[in-house]
Symmetry: none
């Protein structure tokens, strides 16, 4: 993988071409009944089918065969970063998901409000699934905590979930979870695996001590556990590795956060696909590469709602002409992973890829669907190489070797 | 890759089988218009189609997805050497291209005649594209330069291009280009990146000093710039890694040079495909493996001449019976990369592969073309593994493990 970025660094070439990566989250699916089609195959997608006919299809493997990725590794792969090399801790992902801008000096932590009994043993690991409103108020109180040598940020996420960030010099990210994963026992003490992480662990301890005081009268949430303690991975910027000025147009914060992790510019996406398309057109001259994220093919899959995932796929198809009329040199439509409604979860199934470009080598595929993609000209390939195809079809790579 | 050669070293087996690797340079293509076929698909190739019907097809990726290889990495891949591991500098390739036999003590340099004004600034980086005849005479003069401790070779290539080789102990290949890539400034001084390369850089400086004196009255070429300063990579011999006595039958020096780099024997190829076929038959008993190179599918592609590339493909097809009547145990027909006439350049598109052998597992493919190859039994695979298929189908690999 480092080979791949070494190559793209060396071979990248500037021109005025435009690349659009349209990510339909969780795009890949499964038939809900034997003999049926997948969600994508069931949907009426005349615009995508027309692109498929002239373009090249394929299937990407997000991580490795059989591995179902989360959103983090799924997107890092699409962006050309080996998801096994660049791993994103739960705390970091949680911070990305609320648009919190992490610096290289930050340790990000996912917090869960919990309930302790008078002996100090956990009685509820989610504080009775405390509602968002009181939890948000508790977070504001915790945000006041001061620890010498570091800045402390506490942000509410949803219900019992929060994010804690310690910002300071010389911190490390290798500290265990304090959640013991069961009730009737006290939280675990934070322990650092190395020097910088020991410093983080000490700060965690002081934070928890003060949090215990701040929360002592707050039932059911009279403490919190710390999980996924980590620093953001050191990801080389998208522009540096590919020579592309990249803009992200994503409605949901998590995906803006993932784009920010690779140093894309975050554009105002509004709230709807129409607004995203308007932003795309408005920003067309300012960027070389656009990442456009559509959430609902994933959320409907997670809900196990096959017909609604079909409908959302059709909604996406209807927006495609708004992209093609801008004449991108390379348009890729794909997902970050599969989310079959049948499974109500992310899956390992390879992800349909459609590449449309004047330089695409046609295959025999006539429509965009999983079965057609099997015989697509891109074959089955690791998602981390998708950016190679994108750059090549936009004429942005020099020849390798003489 | 070293893994692969470790295996072939360990498992290689001797028998009297014959393998022919017929390389149609730049074989892969693109339709010139929507709905059309590629060059290979448009050509009438009854002999290749017959082999495709009984054999196995596939597509190879020369380097990595999206990467367009030069001839060097393209051929090293076909020969089973990882093109990212074994990189060939421009100077080395240029020397290979004029049949200059490099030793492990040689530093090879691509030279460009240039024009300096009286201030020492470059006014023309190609010396007015000086004609070959006067340039060749200048090279003969430069070839007289003597530098203590090294042998100096200066050979003309074409027009303003030449090759300089320094042969001596303890030289290094990490020296910058002296071509500043623009006019109005003096050439850059050569600087070595390490001890041995500093020695090379000093020799470069002395050479340039003397060249300046030799050329001072020669307009427009009164100096030269040095580029692609490098030593040849340390490539393990073909016979050692595969146990094959290999003969190369290539009309063009560059491809003889690449075969020499992996220590194949270079056979007299004559000037025509017919003469190459005669040589193949004459040498049949002397070698286990034959690399036969056909240039014109690439040169016509580079020219953007679709019909001529089609015609050259048909010319190659007509020669195929001269190979098959020799009954090779494994015949592979492929390219080192794609050169679509539509692009007038090498491209990243995967390369059609046809493998004909009594042990080939048939697939559903009925003719030899890019679209058929997508569904071929070899699948899509890195070119560096092609030699594995070749050895296996010739019964030249023992079982791995018990």
């Amino acid at each position: 993988m480092s080979d791949f970025h070494e190559l793209t660094r060396k071979l990248q070439k500037q021109n005025d071409s435009k690349i659009v990566l349209l990510v339909a989250d969780g795009l890949g699916g499964l038939p809900i009944e034997a003999g049926g089609g997948t969600e994508l195959e069931t949907a009426s997608t005349p615009n995508l089918d027309a692109l498929a006919k002239d373009g090249t299809l394929g299937l990407s493997t997000p991580v490795l065969p059989g591995i179902s990725p989360g959103s983090g590794p799924g997107h890092l792969g699409l962006f050309g970063y080996d998801p096994l090399q660049y791993q994103i801790g739960r705390g970091v992902l949680e911070a990305l998901g609320i648009d919190f801008e992490l610096t290289p000096n930050d340790v990000a932590i996912r917090g869960n409000f919990c309930t302790l009994d008078t002996e100090g043993n956990i009685t509820d690991r989610r504080a009775g699934r405390i509602a968002s409103e009181p939890a948000a108020r508790l977070c504001e109180k915790l945000d006041q905590i001061e620890i010498p040598g570091v800045e402390v940020f506490v942000r509410h996420v949803k219900e019992y979930r929060l994010v804690i960030v310690f910002r300071g010099e010389g911190l490390g990210g290798s500290v265990n979870d304090t959640d013991p994963q069961r009730t009737g026992v006290p939280p675990l003490a934070p322990v650092g695996a190395d020097g910088p992480s020991q410093k983080t662990a000490e700060i965690c301890s002081r934070f928890l001590e003060q949090a215990g005081e701040v929360l002592q009268d707050d039932q059911p949430a009279n403490l919190l556990t710390l999980r996924g303690i980590d620093m953001k991975p050191d990801v080389p910027p998208f522009q540096e590795v590919y020579g592309l000025r990249a803009g992200a147009i994503a409605v949901y914060p998590m995906y803006r956060g993932l784009a920010r992790l690779v140093s894309m510019d975050i554009l105002d996406a509004g709230q709807t696909l129409d607004q995203q398309m308007e932003r795309l057109e408005a920003a067309w001259d300012d960027y070389d590469f656009f990442f456009v994220h559509f959430k609902y093919t994933d959320s409907t899959g997670e809900d196990g709602n096959f017909p609604e995932k079909v409908r959302r796929t059709e909604e996406l198809d209807a927006a495609v002409p708004k992209i093609t009329r801008l004449n991108p040199d390379c348009l890729i439509v794909t997902g970050d992973h599969s989310t079959p409604a049948k499974m109500k979860s992310h899956s390992w199934h390879p992800v349909p890829v459609l590449l449309s470009s004047d330089l695409a080598r046609p295959d025999a595929c006539q429509s965009f669907g999983e079965t057609q993609c099997i015989t697509g000209g891109l074959g089955q390939f690791p998602a981390k190489y998708l950016m190679g195809f994108a750059l090549a079809h936009a004429g942005r790579l020099e020849k390798f070797g003489a």
